[in-house]
Amino acid sequence: MVTPRTTPPKAQKTPKRPGRQGLSGFLRSSNGKKAVMAVSGAVLVLFLIGHMVGNLKIFLGEGTFNSYAEWLRTVGEPALPARTMLTLTEIVLALAVIAHMWSAVSLARRAAKARPVKYAARRKSQANGYVVHTMRYGGVIIVLFVVWHLLDLTFGAVNPKGYDATPYDRVVAGFDPSRWWVTAFYVVALVMVGLHLRHGLWSAFQTLGLANGRARHLLNVGAAVLSTLLVLGFLAVPLAVMIGAVK
């Protein structure tokens, strides 16, 4: 076999010190991006917890649920104009989603560049199993879900009852057994959310440097419990509508 002449791999340049600093340096560093992801993720989780609790009010009856939705819009009145809190929440949420997606995308691109060649042998996860590898496409599914979800229950665009109905009616109509495929989509999406949080919940602590030794073990267990509770809590509503417990 002939060995052609090989050239030595090029050495990377060592940067001039002191290093990149300030916010832009932070946001460009992989660690900074991760911190953004963790903080935005945490905001989204808090929202989800609140959202789930709110959703469960549906079991307290139509009135409670609708007035809760109303309250969301009027809280702070008259000191604050209508919808202030809700709009604020929406802005924070939107920012969190943008920040979260931005860091997810830029980290994914960085990762793709760092690992251009795949292994020929099928990689077996040696660690936390498959869950952690669903984060990226799982996130995409969640986004698609949220878009649908907003069109469905917030704007009513794809809801049989439309925008003018009460929230309660939209929910009941949306999950009508005849629209089983909607419910199925919700279930799939919720499972993805569950998986995302199964990893994301403790991962955020790790990213912020708050997971250590035994704490990591507890966080891991906590993440499993909380993500399961969230999924079950969310699922309760569409399933209840499906079987006719809420109508």
Binding site: M1, V2, T3, P4, R5, T6, T7, P8, T14
Partner: protein, 641 residues
């Protein structure tokens, strides 16, 4: 092979006077280099182990322009990384009666009175600073609950002066030196060349002025010039093929320097380590050391009866022979390495060895587990036990370990004076590559100490005395061309031979000869046999070796073949040295020279000298003797009974 006796040599650099003051005196008398001049002075350091890594970093800190070389892909991988046990220092933190003088005394005695007093004293003095330096660098030595450093007693020492970082002391110390080196690389004072192998030395106007190296990735042959050259290329135990050294350890750098005029000191002094994992078959590529610290709690035994092949657990207590405890009641399982090794060989020669081929003895932890509990034993030795299990597939918690001696360290090396300068002006040699401080036998945990003493403290001072007269001007082009010619000629010859045996197979065979005839026990007859076989085999090698591939590019087979070629020449000199030294001393055991009870018997009358061998192009080495005087330690027969 014959030799002639040349002029005796003397180390002219060691100051006279009280031994405690000599190093201070030398430091004071050494010329200083003006800081502005340092930037103009180039130093090449070959090797990045404890010796070379610490030297290159320190020289860079001092302001010299340094080029550093190693054959691995990173300086952090030098073989020093593998040292397990620990590092000695006369800190006397325990207040157990240790002192600089006692470390000095133990080292001279342990070396069987074949080391220089001045050097050893300096080593003991500097040992104290090494620990300070390492701790300041962040080396995570073992500590006690009070937050202070822990120490243990090691390899035959009766005081507790060995500092350690679990079973990875060499790794932690090397990483300390490596980090210091990387810091200098970042600062621009040291230029690092990894995956570069030194293949020859350039001498111009009588001074060492550069090296010829091969870039192992591109195959390019490069010349690097400087005002001084430091070799820190480690030991040559791999001449035996099987040893505890890393696969890449070689003699090429120092052997090439020897061929260019540097004397080789005491080549035959090799240390055989008693606690290694025995060979398991013909495929074996290297031997693994089990730290000596295991002997603190393990008991060594063999069956009383020859050919007893019962499982160890089935052999009742009264049919076991705890031979070290029996023969050496005072030191028991903790006798020095050479003694423990030979005792193991003796019982195996009697046919009482255990395991495949009868080449092994038991190292039994049953008592320790009974006394301290499994947890305590696991805490102390867990990683070693795991390593043993991984390699042998046997669980040492339930079945005693099998161990056997293996080649471990070479006390011999290039001859250097008190300044660590070889007989070639401007060529300095440090660490295991020189012959200096251990005499005929090295104490456990002293090699790390020596490498770091040389690199951090001694060489940076003494090299200044030489460089104060520099820079040394242009290097003669003919000298460079000649060296380049040698290197390319050798490579060309290896590649064009196209025979039908691999270099490894020759290396294996050479190693067998060396182990058999110049190993733990040497006789005139065996050495003569070796001196007959080696040239024959070398001849065959040069006519029948097969090295695939080309000069360009990464060619690991070529690297290996080049190293084997030099091992042949060195092996011959080792046997000659062993043959001429008809006494036994330390690691060199001549069967003809033993006491009634089988201990090494020195002949101080005739052999209290360092054998420094000069290469002669005609092929007859010239022996120069450096007489050894003992003013402070009285020469006695070593006894560990």
């Amino acid at each position: 092979m014959n030799y002639t006796v040349g002029e005796p040599i003397r180390d002219t650099k060691a100051p006279e006077g009280p031994i405690e003051d000599r190093w201070d005196k030398r430091r004071f008398s050494a010329k200083l280099v003006n800081p502005a001049n340092k930037r103009k002075l180039n130093i090449i350091v070959v090797g990045t182990g404890l010796a070379g890594g610490s030297a290159a970093a320190t020289l860079g800190e001092l302001g010299y322009k340094v080029k550093s070389f190693c054959y691995q892909d990173s300086p952090r991988r030098a073989h020093s990384i593998a040292a397990q046990g620990g590092i000695n220092a006369a800190k006397n933190y325990r207040g157990d009666g240790d002192s600089i003088h006692r470390l000095f005394y133990d080292t001279v005695k342990g070396g069987d009175f074949r080391a220089r007093e001045s050097n050893v004293y300096r080593l003991a003095q500097v040992s104290v600073n090494i620990i300070d330096q390492a701790v300041a660098q962040g080396v995570p030595f073992a500590r006690e609950y009070g937050g202070l450093l822990d120490t243990r007693s090691f390899g035959g020492a009766q005081v507790s002066r060995t500092f350690y970082a679990r079973g990875q002391t060499g790794q932690q110390l090397l990483l300390g030196a490596y980090q210091a080196l990387e810091r200098q690389i970042a600062a621009g004072t040291v230029e690092m060349h990894t995956r570069h192998e030194m293949l020859d030395l350039v001498i111009s106007d009588g001074r060492a002025r550069g090296v010829i190296v091969r870039d192992l990735v591109t195959g390019e042959i490069e010349t690097h010039l400087a005002d001084a050259v430091v070799l820190a290329t480690g030991g040559y135990g791999n001449v035996f093929f099987l040893s505890t050294n890393a696969k890449g350890c070689n003699t090429t750098a120092i052997w090439r320097a020897h061929r260019r005029g540097a004397y080789f000191g005491n080549p035959c002094y090799t240390q055989i380590h008693p606690t290694c994992i025995p060979v398991s078959g013909d495929h074996q590529s290297k031997l693994t050391l089990m730290s000596e610290s295991l002997r603190n709690d393990g008991r060594v035994w063999v069956p009383l009866r020859k050919g007893d092949d019962r499982a160890p657990g089935d052999i009742p207590e009264h049919e076991r022979d705890y031979y070290l405890e029996r023969i050496y009641p005072a030191f028991g399982n903790l006798v020095p390495r050479d003694i423990a090794s030979r005792a193991a060989k003796n019982v195996c020669d009697e046919g009482r060895g255990v395991g495949p081929g009868g080449l092994g003895v038991y190292l039994d932890f049953a008592d320790a587990i009974g006394r301290l509990g499994r947890d305590a034993v696991e805490k102390k030795y867990g990683n070693l036990f795991e390593m043993y299990e991984r390699i042998t597939g046997e669980d040492p918690y339930v079945r005693p370990m099998r161990i056997y001696p293996a080649v471990h360290y070479t006390m011999g090396g290039l001859w250097v004076d008190y300044d660590l300068q070889s007989t070639i002006p401007g060529l300095f040699v440090i660490g295991e590559a020189n012959f200096s401080d251990h005499g005929a036998n090295r104490l456990g945990a002293s090699a790390l100490m020596q490498g770091l003493a040389d690199g951090y403290f001694v060489l940076p001072t003494t090299i200044g005395d030489y460089l104060a007269n520099g820079p040394f001007g242009e290097v003669e082009q003919e000298a460079v061309d000649e060296a380049l010619g040698q290197v390319t000629g050798k490579i060309g010859r290896l590649l064009s031979t196209s025979g039908n045996r691999t270099a490894d197979s020759y290396h294996r065979e050479l190693g067998k000869i060396m182990w058999e005839y110049c190993g733990m026990e040497r006789t005139e007859e065996s050495l003569r046999k070796a001196l007959e076989r080696i040239p024959e085999l070398r001849e065959e090698f040069w006519n029948n070796v097969k090295v695939p591939g080309e000069e360009e590019g990464l060619n690991q087979a070529l690297e290996r073949a080049g190293r084997v070629a030099d091992f042949f020449d060195l092996a011959e000199l080792m046997c000659l040295d062993a043959l001429h030294r008809t006494e036994s001393c330390g690691g060199h055991f001549r069967a003809e020279s033993q006491t009634e009870d089988g201990e090494a018997l020195r002949d101080d009358e005739n052999f209290a000298y360092v054998a420094a061998w000069e290469h002669s192009p005609e092929g007859t080495p010239v022996l120069h003797k450096e007489e050894l005087d003992y003013e402070y330690v009285h020469m006695t027969q070593r006894s560990y009974k």
